[in-house]
């Protein structure tokens, strides 16, 4: 097992993980920018959170420090809480204005 993981760290250096996380984060930003569906925008935010998680895990594995993985664990907890509350807000908005188009939500008071 240790041989395999040592080989992996040689085959896939840290730059590749950095590049992958950057691409994933940029795709999330792109999704938030070009879509209007609130749920799809929400999923893009999840994609961005996962890019950060992957980068933290990669740094922690290459740095031989367990603190990074604990941080990833906490980020997952916060993401779960955020998804629950966010979807509740979306359901409530849909009940009020019968749409999830982001342009309909431009005013907070109606």
């Amino acid at each position: 097992m240790e041989n395999i993981s040592a080989q992996i760290t040689q085959v896939a250096p840290l730059e590749h993980y950095i590049l992958l996380s950057a691409v994933l984060f940029s795709l999330g930003v792109l999704g938030v920018l070009i879509r209007r569906n609130v749920i799809v925008m929400f999923m893009s935010i999840e994609l961005m959170l996962n890019a950060c998680n992957l980068l933290l895990a990669a740094f922690s594995a290459f740095h031989s420090s367990a603190a990074g993985q604990v941080f990833v664990f906490f980020i997952m907890i916060v993401a779960a809480a955020e998804v629950a509350v966010g979807l509740a807000i979306i359901v409530m908005l849909y009940r009020n204005i019968h749409s999830i188009d982001i342009n309909e939500l431009s005013k907070l008071k109606w």
Binding site: S5, N37, N50
Partner: protein
């Protein structure tokens, strides 16, 4: 594909594929605990929540009006610039890391549990409170007549 799929249900399914790919990366990084937690939390809980909300609101039809092409082009350019900035910024970091000795035990549950319950005990308890408050908040928001 999460971004480009017209149907929100297809978007969710592509997102599940992306999450499993990330879990595979965690296993490759020797972080087994993170991989298992990732699959349970994301594929198990969050995706079910997304799908059930989409079914509940009956949104599985692609009636989304498209944004103008100029706006899409501007968004693509902005995301590309962000990508260039990130790679440029993070390019110089690996020389700092390279001198560390490699330890393959940190991803296991035993080592992570020791760190979690020794150094990070207070954040752990606070995150439990956060989850509780998010449960209560979600129920209060969705409930119809809170009288």
């Amino acid at each position: 594909m999460v971004v480009t799929a017209k149907n929100p249900v297809h978007s969710v399914l592509y997102l599940i594929i992306a999450f499993f790919a990330i879990a595979g990366h965690y296993i490759l990084l020797n972080a087994q605990f993170l991989a298992i937690v990732h699959i349970i939390v994301y594929a198990g809980a969050i995706m079910v929540l997304f799908l059930s909300v989409i079914m509940l609101l009956n949104l599985n039809k692609d009636n989304e009006p498209a944004k103008s092409n100029v706006l899409k082009l501007a968004a693509v350019v902005a995301a590309g610039l962000l990508l260039v900035t990130f790679t440029g910024t993070l390019k110089g970091t690996e020389s700092i890391i390279a001198s560390q000795p490699y330890d393959d035990q940190i991803g296991y549950v035993k080592a992570l549990g020791k760190v979690l319950f020794n150094d990070f005990l207070l954040p752990f308890e606070v995150s439990a409170l956060l989850l509780l408050s998010s449960i209560i908040g979600a129920v209060v928001l969705v409930k119809h007549d809170l009288k």
